[in-house]
Amino acid sequence: MEQIIGVTGDLFRTAANLLFLTAQGEDVEYEPGLFRDTVDWISRRSDMLLELMLEHLWLVILTLIIAVVISVTVGIIISYYESFAQTVLGVCQVLMVIPSMAMLAFMVPLFGIGFTTGVMALVLYSLLPIVRNTYTGIRELDPAIVEAAKGMGMTERRILFKIKIPLARPVIMAGVRTAAVMMIGIAAIAAYVGAGGLGELIFSGISRGHQPMIIAGAIGVSIIAIAFDYLLYYGEKRFSVEGRTKEG
């Protein structure tokens, strides 16, 4: 881990230096500007930036795993018990509408300040997109397919694992993508209650009035969010293509 940070930090620093030089031009007098300050700051503190970035990713990925396990299970359960479904989805909807700052604030008296609080709030937030997509993914399946499986003598469990989940997978993936992108943004806010990550840069930058720090934090978070969005988008596409070729 240390080595990875070291090597990537060096790369980062070289890239930043190159940028810095091109921005400076040849023998142009050094003029302090926001852009140059930021590049300068990033090149000096790239180690810290990377560490915070990894912390941010760790928070998001850990939460995502917990959230996927819980939400997919809940989604599958409510696809069997129709009467629960609307209530559960309604509760999830309300959870998602609550402002993230308020949700984190509710968690502080319960779990104190720190990583756990962030994880709890993020898990609650990501329930809706994944639960809803699992539920609709399973419900919208062609009933004929399920009937055929039943006719072949498959047990309910085999139908679930061999038919329903594989076919609903693209829809579930879409939900995971929505949840992941949302989580990256909320994880930045969770830094305020001590969950760590790039949000720390933004908050300490604001309280010190140190603009390069804020910009590095804000752009870092945005880049992570956009990158996740694209990566999961391609993942989604691959999954759906796979489903189609197996079917046809």
């Binding site: 700052m101 604030a105 990256i184 930045a188 209650v193 908050f203 934090g217 945005s222 956009i226």
Partner: protein
Amino acid sequence: MAREIWKWLGIPLIMIAIAAVIVIYSVNNPTDSIVARMLTYERVFRVIREHMGLLLVSMTGAIIVGVAGGIMLSRPSLYRIGRVMETFVNIGQTVPSLAVLALFYTILGLGFNVAVFALFLYSILPILRNTFAGIDGVEHNIIEAARGMGMRPLRILTKIELPIAFPIIVAGIRTAIVINVGAATLATFIGGGGLGDLIVTGLSVHRDMIIVNGAVIAAVTAILLDYLIGKVEERVVRWA
């Protein structure tokens, strides 16, 4: 009739009552002198007023600019720019709200106006996209038929395209409001005030009572607004 009104106002009234009870209880029974000083009726009302100010100004602006911009971009002459805009809006929506507020702070400084401006720009995105997509999604045959009946472009827009796109536009406004209410609680970090003030104060003086009050009011405001917009949306969908 009475039942109809209860159906609309029942849940909001119960939620407002719960929030009011919590606020009144905490103001009258503060756990210590710090809470007593930080949590007063004046402060709570001021914070709510600021929050509503943030929401109203930014949302009104965003709805006007978003819908107008969406209509403009869906015209044939600007259609290409509209397509490009869709991509940019999708990327822009991926950027977290805290990052948007923080970036505006570095450019424009602290204050209520900066927060309103950032919220305004951030909530234009879903409205703009949905207006464009809604008008773009109107079937070509319908417009052809209207043109065949001798309708002018302006009449086609107001009589055909906008009514058909209306539910989608309202859905965009709902998304924008939910995002905006959430982001408005973050305005406190760049000096915009609002309900985030209470939460942040509570966190920094370690008094759970203040935190819970701020969080409850913020949550109730958000749920109420979403509920009301949801009802309006239902109406609109039924009507369309």
